[in-house]
Subunit: 132 residues, 2 copies
DNA sequence: TACCTTATTGATAATAGATATCAATATGAA
DNA sequence: TTCATATTGATATCTATTATCAATAAGGTA
């Protein structure tokens, strides 16, 4: 049941919720849910292929995604917010051109962009730290 | 002084050492070094641009790199080992083609490959788990 | 050299995010 | 209803890392 709530929360979340985000949403109307359950169910849903997971970078929380197709993300290095990126390329380009350690079997790749989102840029301007 | 030891350890390490790896190397001949010092100095060296850092994925330790130029890495999803990847592409291709949230300022990108290294593939074969 | 200021260090506590444990409860088929 | 299985909440634990802070080292200046 809480699994279903978790799934719905991800689907309806505008953007890329972290486990904490999902927990907050659910517990606002189902206050007895445990954080462990949210983590557990997010993992399960991801393993089942029902939700996506943003390639998770150290120093930021893991973020989930209602999209399950392979696409790219940009992460704001200031606040950790994740946004979708639309970029067309032929992924065969990589898998063919890749050379690396003998015997390494390639499964997938992730293309991740880093930068600063508008909110954080505005915040920095206000703080007068932009010229440093 | 320990800073210098840290630097040398990264330079001479075959591959992409984690903080733990570096600590192990140094403490083998300088047993009083503190782990905090290693973490601190790895960060400092990275900030100074003297060593590189592999785009760090959650669930694995951070890995450092004697190379400081922008290049790609593959990570073994079984054991966390990092290997260099040689792949030619025009990065302008991305920065130009990228469209995302209004106002997001792009700084950099990372192209990360995931797969299984030969060691881990062999280990799985031995365990008889390869056919699952 | 003695003095002072700043930087670095080691030991340790603390943190965040996530996972493991486990008894209690729910579910669902027979 | 009964039994087996799955899910849950509460909590302890984990791992990698950072923060704290007193002690020490380094380095410039007089």
């Amino acid at each position: 049941m809480q699994r279903e709530l978790t799934y719905e929360a991800v689907l309806s979340y505008p953007g890329h919720p972290s486990a904490e985000d999902v927990y907050r949403v659910i517990s606002s109307r189902y206050s007895t849910i445990s954080k462990a359950t949210v983590y557990r169910n997010l993992n399960a849903l991801y393993e089942e292929g029902k939700i996506g997971k943003v390639p998770p970078m150290i120093g930021y929380e893991a973020h989930y995604d209602h999209r399950t197709d392979h696409h790219c993300h940009a992460i704001c290095t200031r606040c950790g917010k994740v946004v979708d990126v639309d970029v067309q390329y032929d992924s065969a380009m990589f898998t063919n051109a890749v050379s690396m350690e003998e015997g390494f079997m390639l499964d997938s790749h992730d293309l991740i962009f880093e930068g600063t989102c508008m909110e954080c840029r505005n915040k920095e301007k206000e703080d007068g730290t932009e010229g440093i």
